[in-house]
């Protein structure tokens, strides 16, 4: 997508001071409301509705709640005609084996709301689906009148413009939402962990993204196609092989013959991953057999298989087991490599901060053992290569030459980075950098003396912080009355659509206290989504 590069620039180039966007506390609401029209001040009292939309899932609820009211999956049952109750009569489609093996891409298509490849997409169909899922969510779960209160959408930071436009015009023309705020899901995930800077690893459906966030700004994003979708396809192939009785390992091109729902159940229940790479020594529990419903007849039969085999698809897909690193294309790096590369492309200061605040979100983060494994693998990469992108034999030769010279290499290679990172390989004798006291320069020492009371941020070690997820983050941020950068007013959007958004990156940050309302803003921006 060509928007990628400009997107990141606009994120970083946002000329705001290092200050949280100005808030409006509830107490200050009264003075503020007097300047607004009565209608909108009435709306201010209404809790905003928060939606998080992804390819497979939708979460919806009210601001200020910790968990969404409802979580909905997309699937073929959602696209049936009204009064077509087949799903209830025959059981959910995709539970049993398929009549005819399917191509892995067609196999998942019905279960996705949209694909990021829009060449074949029918935007009208997507609009229909969006309309229906929103209407049903309001009627069944939110139990509030649609369109009366503000809407906050938590979206992935990269949305194709046609999709974004379809989504917004469907919502604005179907209901009378006064405004729609867009929030980036990665930043919200960081906020929901109590963090200002983080490396958010989103193991999502279509792709895995690793986003470096520094002071609530997305600094760098890298993505990989190794995601839950490919995991599901791999598991589908594995189960298809199990059904047909073939034991061959290489199943990469085969069509899938088991039902999607069945496969998804298996993945959500039993997909796992060993926390340590290459742990081949037989641990007693992993060698146990477990019984899962048989892929041939899931309703009535069970089949036994070793528990360890259920970890194979995870390792193969997410960790690219059995594939050399140099054979991987740029967009299909394994998850540890993705995390490492993202950290590597961050500036050292941000890297030190972000690596101690790694947040895993998305469906894949539920797979037991996965997060630990990623961290362990990243640690190994750091130990092996340090923070240098240079690889190869020449490096090794140079390292040997340096060792021969031995001019107090320890001191020389000590980087001024706060985390005490080392150039690779000459630290065999050194202790673990995380346990070592970081060297302080005199400025740092002075600052610390001045601020004895304040805690020193954890830096430079790999550490995982748990987040409540993007939905909770959006709910949190909205309930604190923090204005989003992208707040799209109904009237403005209906005039010009997405084209009305200003490209002017020098937009002043919205300020709530100066009495300016959003309506007084003459222009609006798409910020990161532009």
């Amino acid at each position: 997508m060509s928007a990628t590069s400009s997107l990141r620039h606009s994120q970083t180039a946002r000329p705001s001071s290092p200050h949280t966007p100005q808030q409006q506390l509830r107490s200050g609401n009264t003075s503020f409301a007097s300047t607004t029209s009565p209608g909108s001040s009435f709306r201010n009292e209404d809790d905003a509705i928060i939606f998080e939309i992804g390819t497979r899932w939708l979460r919806a609820g009210f601001e200020g709640n910790g968990t969404p009211i409802c979580v909905k999956r997309f699937g073929p049952e959602e696209s049936r005609r009204v009064a077509d109750y087949r799903g209830w009569i025959r059981g959910e489609a995709g539970a049993g084996p398929l009549l005819k093996p399917m191509n892995a891409e067609d196999w998942v298509r019905e279960y996705e709301l949209w694909q990021s490849d829009l060449r074949k997409a029918d935007l009208g169909l997507i609009e229909d689906k969006i309309e229906r899922v929103f209407r049903e969510t309001y009627n069944q779960y939110l139990l509030t009148d649609a369109g009366t209160s503000r809407l906050v959408l938590t979206l992935p930071a990269l949305m194709p413009h046609p999709l974004l436009s379809s989504l917004l015009s469907t919502l604005f023309s179907r209901w009378r939402f006064p405004s729609i705020t867009l929030l980036s899901s990665a930043t919200m995930s960081a906020a929901a962990g109590g963090l200002r800077s983080a490396l958010v690893v989103d193991l999502g459906w279509a792709e895995t993204t690793a986003t470096g966030i520094y002071e609530y700004r997305e600094v760098v994003t890298k993505r990989s196609t190794r995601s839950m979708k490919s995991l599901m396809q791999e598991m589908g192939r594995f189960l298809s092989g199990l059904a047909s009785g073939s034991t061959q390992e290489d199943t990469s091109d085969e069509d899938i013959s088991v039902g999607f729902t069945y496969c998804e159940e298996i993945v959500s229940r039993f997909a796992w991953c060993s926390p340590e790479a290459g742990e081949s020594e037989a641990q007693s529990e992993t060698e146990r057999d477990i019984s899962i419903p048989s892929p041939k007849n899931p309703e009535h039969e069970y089949t036994e298989l070793p528990f360890s085999r259920l970890a194979d698809p995870v390792e193969k897909v997410l960790f690219a087991l059995g594939t050399a690193e140099n054979e991987l294309d740029d967009e299909e790096k394994s998850i540890p490599l993705l995390v490492y590369n993202t950290l590597l492309s961050l500036p050292p200061d941000a890297r030190g901060t972000c690596m101690a605040r790694i947040v895993f979100v998305g469906g894949g983060s539920r797979i037991p053992g996965l997060r630990q494994r990623v961290l362990n693998d990243v640690q190994k990469l750091i130990d092996r290569h340090g923070w240098s992108p240079i690889r190869g034999q020449a490096l090794e030769r140079q390292r040997q030459r340096m060792e021969e010279l031995k001019i107090s290499s320890q001191k020389r290679t000590q980087t001024p980075e706060a985390n005490g990172d080392n150039t690779p390989s000459n630290d065999d004798s050194k202790p673990d950098p995380s346990k070592e006291e970081p060297e302080l320069d005199f400025v740092e020492q002075k600052l610390r003396r001045q601020n004895k009371d304040t805690p020193i941020p954890v830096q430079g070690i790999l550490r995982e912080v748990e987040s409540l997820g993007a939905w909770a983050g959006a709910s949190l941020v909205t309930s604190l009355k923090i204005r989003g950068m992208v707040e799209i007013e109904r009237e403005k959007f209906l005039q010009h659509g997405l084209a009305g958004a200003t490209r002017d990156l020098e937009q002043p940050i919205p300020d709530r206290r100066s009495g300016l309302r959003a309506g007084d803003r003459s222009s609006w921006t798409l910020a990161g989504w532009a």
């Binding site: 169909l125 109590g194 706060a418 805690p455 997820g469 209906l494 010009h496």
Partner: protein, 625 residues
């Protein structure tokens, strides 16, 4: 399709209105309007509102030419059973759930039928606040019973549990008992609200202790001026806190985070009487200073300027959460090992792990069946419905949950003719009437006659024109002919009129047919099959096509059973006929809407017309000839 054959669907005309992309037509500022294709009404009010919808209509007329395809994935979203549609008397249009707006009249619990006041709905998280619960395993309703009852003795005393009559799950399975049989929701909430995130070994839900732990920061936070007061100095302090307090539940963590942020914001915000405080951007020396000093230091975190009294212009910078009471949660080492161990252990098994549908309504951390909590019943609403374009009210139910009556209900069937379909058994030989063809197994290439009856519910006679593509769209091409596409339907006059008109048989256009027995009638082109007071029946001749891969498919040897099975799964073998209905009638002018049907001057009559697609589901085609 899951509805039994034969069935009929009506496509709401709003499907032809694409969602306007404002970027494309910058002029039109209004919300999309239902296409009113052949509207001739002089007194239409909508046209006043929308002087500039001409471009839209052009677009619509183009699309009107296209044949409606019941197989396109989009048609699933516009087809409705006729009885589910509404009709707006102002716009003179069919209204489907997509072209109405809804307003909630009342909230009630479908289990106990108690109405929930609107002020309490949100507080109860849209769920019943009483004793109504659904089983988390099988979703059937739970009942409150004593433990003795469950055990079989039963003296009506003692601790109470929720038990499922269907799958025999009780709250004892998750170690929950209630002291009294009332107000279960509150009791449950106290027990579970802030319990630690699902733990695998604890059966004892010692949540209340954790809850009070949590509550104290919440209540303290009003005076929580120095949240940084924890003894510290080293970056290690995070870990101390972690060990002594149990991990918070999701809601508790959220509350802690919210309080933390709220504190930070009030601490770091500049005084409100300085309106220029943060508005100056880079031109302000203060902001510049702040930036410069930020770059000068290698540590980015807040608190750098926290207690700095020398430079008053510098506002303090927000920091991040640093301990568990502020909502931070460091992932514990090897937390997943226990999960993996438990997953693989024989006493867990497939049924020990919660399924996707079981987890959908639970807290996001839930993984095992033991973590599932009883679900309070989701409330339902009674909703009034309005036309989206003219705000005319279409449906208004009575507020009481027990009442099934409506104050206003404009259903479409009072306006559009009710279509119904039945197969016609043609007399094959002379004597024995042939059995009606089995609609679930229509042989390909063999003509079937179907009777389509349209029943008028209006008090005006209606002229109907039907149209259908001669070959149905899709891979299975069936030929369809409507033998008499133009006909009239009588008014829905008083039933007694008909009876008083004399003992003569129902009015028929065909005098010959009246004398003959129905079984001997032969469908004839251009002739209406049968006609009654307010209904007319016409004959459709259908020649079902051949399924791809079947024997009858030209140029194929043998039967490709797989392909037939796939076709059956995708409903390709269902014979569905799109029929375009165009109806015209002379309605009375709007003012006398109430007494339609009474005699009035013909000058008041207004010609109206309505056009829509409907889909007739005839049956399933078999593969074999």
């Amino acid at each position: 399709m899951s509805r039994p054959f034969p069935y009929t669907y009506v496509s709401c005309p709003c499907a032809n209105t694409p969602v306007p992309d404002p970027a494309k037509k910058r002029r039109s500022r209004d919300s999309p309007q239902k296409p009113t294709p052949e509207r001739t009404d002089p007194d239409d009010k909508d046209n006043k509102k929308q002087p500039e919808n001409t471009p839209e209509e052009e677009v619509d007329e183009e699309e009107e030419e296209q044949t409606f395809d019941p197989r396109s994935p989009r048609s699933n979203f516009s087809l409705y059973p006729p009885e589910q549609l509404l009709y707006c008397e102002d716009c003179h249009q069919i209204k489907c759930p997509r072209c109405i707006t809804e307003e909630i009249v009342s909230w009630y619990c479908p289990n106990c039928l108690f109405e929930t006041p609107s002020s309490m709905v949100k507080g109860d998280a849209n769920r019943c606040g009483r004793n109504c619960f659904n089983c988390p395993v099988c979703t059937s309703p739970l009942s409150v019973s004593t433990i003795e009852n469950v055990a079989g003795k039963g003296n009506g005393q003692g601790p109470w549990v929720l038990s499922c009559a269907y799958c025999l799950w009780t709250t004892l399975d998750i170690g929950i008992k209630f002291d009294k049989p009332t107000n279960i929701r509150n009791q449950l909430q106290k027990m579970t609200d802030s319990t630690s995130a699902p733990t695998f070994d604890t059966r004892s839900r010692q949540g209340s202790r954790a809850f009070s732990d949590l509550k104290s920061p919440l209540s303290n936070l009003a005076s929580f001026d120095e949240p940084v007061s924890t003894p510290t100095g080293s970056g290690e302090q995070v870990k101390e806190n972690e060990t002594d307090s149990p991990p918070l539940g999701v809601e508790a963590r959220f509350a802690a985070l919210k309080n933390f942020y709220r504190n930070q914001i009030s601490e770091t915000s500049t005084s409100p009487n300085d309106p220029l405080g943060s508005d100056l951007g880079f031109s302000s020396p203060g902001a510049l200073n702040r930036l410069m000093s930020l770059y000068a230091s290698s540590s980015r975190l807040g608190g750098l300027y926290g207690g700095n009294k020398k430079q008053k212009s510098k506002p303090p910078v927000m920091r991040e959460a640093i301990n568990a009471s502020e909502g931070l949660r460091i992932a514990p080492e090897n937390a997943d090992a226990a999960i993996i161990e438990r997953l693989s252990s024989p006493d867990c098994g497939w049924d020990g792990v919660a399924s996707l549908s079981q987890r959908a309504e639970q807290s996001p951390d839930v993984r095992f069946v033991d973590d599932l909590l009883p679900l309070p019943v989701l409330l339902r609403t009674k909703r009034a419905k309005r036309c989206k374009s003219c705000k005319h009210i279409l449906v208004k139910p009575e507020t009481k949950p027990q009442s099934t009556r409506f104050r206003i209900r404009l259903i479409a069937l009072s306006y559009i003719p009710l279509p119904s379909l039945r197969p016609l058994a043609l007399p094959t030989s002379s004597l024995i009437p042939a059995p009606a063809p089995d609609l679930n197994a229509l042989p390909p290439l063999r003509p079937v006659h179907v009777l389509l009856t349209l029943k008028n519910h209006m008090f005006d006679p209606v002229r109907i024109t039907l149209a259908t593509p001669s070959v149905t769209p899709g891979r299975v091409a069936s030929k369809v002919t409507i033998l008499s596409p133009q006909f009239d339907i009588g008014p829905n006059s008083d039933v007694w009129d008909e009876a008083l008109q004399g003992a003569s048989a129902p009015v028929t256009t065909d005098p010959r047919a009246g004398g003959l027995r129905a079984a001997e009638k032969v469908p004839e082109a251009g002739k209406v099959w049968d006609k009654g007071r307010n209904w007319t029946t016409v004959v459709l001749e259908v020649i079902p096509g051949t399924l791809p891969g079947s024997e009858a498919d030209a140029g194929k040897e043998g039967i490709d059973e797989d392909e037939i099975a796939v076709a059956a799964q995708q409903d390709e073998d269902v014979l569905e006929i799109p029929v375009f209905v165009h109806m015209e009638w002379d309605a009375e002018a709007q003012l006398e809407q109430q007494n339609v049907g009474k005699a009035s001057k013909p000058d008041d009559l207004v010609a109206r017309e309505l056009a829509y697609w409907m889909v007739l589901g005839v049956g399933r085609i078999t593969a074999a000839l």
